[in-house]
């Protein structure tokens, strides 16, 4: 049944806000939990589903596969993957597959299976069966194994998560989702997209921003290490030598 709103009623809409928009990574940082609250405005009271997608900054990542060579497990040549967000969370009111079709989810990049992770350096285009510019990956049949491994390893470190019951309605039209940032969450600008689905189609969309940044002494040290790396190295060695000397003097007095 195609969705068609009656002309006299306003269209359904979703609205949302984050409890925190700026996460400060200080020396006591042990991850953070951010709560997203939102409301669905729908005069027709159709069945609605809410999907929340949180993405951290994209960073290319390298992955290798261990292969056995002469009895020893060694790493293969590393493969560079692009398009993998540094943090990714998909929370929804129901399993994504029940909310929308494969094509819709793929188009929106909703769900870890629909992330546009690829390895551009491994790809080349060739003509196959008379079709020009077919993208072929050098990883061949194993490509899916590699892609799944990216997701699996990221999930293990808490950086990717899919929660099929992560969005809960706390009251009529009022919903809530929790975003858990692990300690390893990358620094940068995050986006939270909130979709309202009705009849398998996204009918409303909201975008909210979130910044994770180093603060205080952590930030000062990080900037020092990256902006003046040689001075930073000299200072850290000076600390080491001074500490060694101080300990030896202190012990001599005793």
């Amino acid at each position: 049944m195609p969705y068609a709103a009656p002309p006299e009623t306003p269209p359904a809409a979703v609205s949302a806000a984050l409890t925190t928009t700026n996460v400060r990574v200080t020396s006591s940082f042990r991850g953070a939990r951010i709560v997203l609250y939102g409301a669905v405005f729908d005069p027709t009271a159709q069945p609605s589903d809410v999907v929340v997608i949180v993405r951290g900054p994209d960073a290319p990542l390298r992955m290798a596969r261990k292969t056995r060579v002469a009895g020893v497990w060694v790493n293969s040549r590393p493969v560079v993957f692009e398009g993998a967000p540094g943090f990714y969370m998909a929370a929804s009111t129901r399993p994504l597959g029940e909310i929308a079709s494969f094509g819709t989810l793929r188009r929106l990049g909703a769900g870890v299976d629909h992330l546009a992770i690829n390895a551009p350096l491994e790809e080349r285009t060739e003509t196959r069966y008379g079709v020009r510019d077919v993208v072929v990956s050098r990883l061949g049949q194993d490509y899916l194994d590699w892609r799944r491994a990216v997701v699996r390893l990221k999930e293990q470190s808490g950086l990717y998560a899919a929660d099929e019951q992560g969005v809960t309605f706390v009251d009529r039209g009022l919903f809530k989702a929790e975003i858990d940032l692990p300690t390893a969450a990358p620094i940068g600008v995050y986006t939270a997209e909130i979709f309202l689905f009705q009849n398998g189609q996204p009918v409303s969309r909201r975008m909210r921003g979130l910044t994770v940044e180093k603060a205080g002494i952590e930030r000062a040290l990080y900037l020092f290490a990256h902006n003046r790396p040689w001075s930073y190295g000299l200072v850290s060695v000076a600390i080491a030598l001074a500490a060694g000397w101080a300990a030896s003097v202190a012990f001599r007095r005793n």
Partner: protein
């Protein structure tokens, strides 16, 4: 009490790290080694990225070696001239080693080379030291006279040009063997995140034939220079030195090294060597044998883009 490390970007338990630093510092002072070969694997095991562990560990080794070397200097057990020659080679080795390490990381083979180096170097040196020290312990137990040390030194030590006098070590030898040894240890230092004492100490005893009394202090002295340089190079080239991590480790490390240096005079040299050999062997096997087991997870994520 957890603390977030700004460069490693992980959260660690501070008291555990300080205690580890102290334990490794004690071993460092006791045996005259930097202790990096123990600490680096432990840090990796605790979840610190290997590149950060290797680079920050060089800093920690520099601190505990400084702490140790000062007490050896007071006992006149440091041959500064020999240490300087070794360090000159070590400086060259550090440059080469840091570049090799960058190149290996690009190829994705850094883990393999680190594990293999641990297995080969620690395995061989540990086994040799163990058999040598056990033989001499057994000989003493049986009451046999100690084997007379061969005074005939290998001719190549003397045949080579550029001879130099090392009064503290009572040697007059070519500078080529110590420099080559220094280069080799410098490379190991950068690749394995170690000071290289476990190679230097036996090499000074068996190859350079230095008197046992000055070996440990001289080794520590050369380690300070090499690891300080490695630390600056790693910070400058790779930005992988975590000063918070290094400071946590060295708080315990410098104190442990003092206690260890004092305790060393209470043990017999052979017993100390046998104990060190066991530790070296265990670490080498632990790091290396993993290469032969089928991994649970066939894929590995690597940090960064190269």
């Amino acid at each position: 009490m957890d603390i977030y490390l700004p460069i490693a970007e992980v959260s660690v338990n501070a008291p555990i790290l300080i205690a580890l630093g102290a334990a490794v510092g004690f071993i460092s002072g006791l045996f005259g080694i930097g202790g990096g070969f123990l600490m680096t694997p432990v840090l990796i095991f605790l979840g610190i990225p290997p590149v950060v562990a290797v680079a920050s560990e060089a800093n920690h080794v520099a601190a505990s070696s400084t702490s140790g070397v000062i007490s050896y200097t007071r006992r006149k057990a440091v041959d500064f001239r020999m240490g300087g020659v070794l360090a000159a080679g070590g400086a060259v080795g550090s440059f080469i080693g840091v570049e090799i390490f960058r190149w290996l990381r690009l190829l994705g083979q850094a883990d393999l080379v680190v594990s293999l180096s641990y297995l080969i170097f620690l395995g061989v040196i540990g086994a040799l030291m163990l058999s040598e020290s056990l033989t001499s312990i057994l000989r003493q137990r049986r009451g046999d006279p100690p084997k007379r040390r061969k005074d005939r030194r290998p001719p190549w030590l003397y045949g080579l040009p550029f001879k130099m006098r090392f009064p503290r070590s009572r040697l007059y030898i070519s500078v080529i063997p110590p420099i080559v040894l220094g280069v080799f240890v410098g490379i190991l230092s950068a690749i394995m995140g170690v000071g290289g004492g476990f190679v230097l100490v036996p090499a000074m005893v068996y190859i350079l034939r230095m008197p046992a009394g000055v070996v440990v202090g001289t080794s520590l002295f050369q380690i300070i220079i090499t690891t300080s340089l490695t630390s600056v190079l790693q910070a400058g080239r790779n930005q992988t030195v975590d000063v918070v991590l290094a400071t946590l480790l060295l708080i315990g490390g410098v104190l442990g090294a003092q206690v260890g240096a004092r305790a060393s005079s209470r043990f017999r040299a052979e017993e100390l060597r046998a104990l060190l050999a066991l530790i070296v062997l265990a670490v080498g096997l632990r790091m290396g044998l993993g290469l032969f087991f089928t991994p649970d997870e066939p894929f590995v994520l690597m940090a960064g883009n190269g």
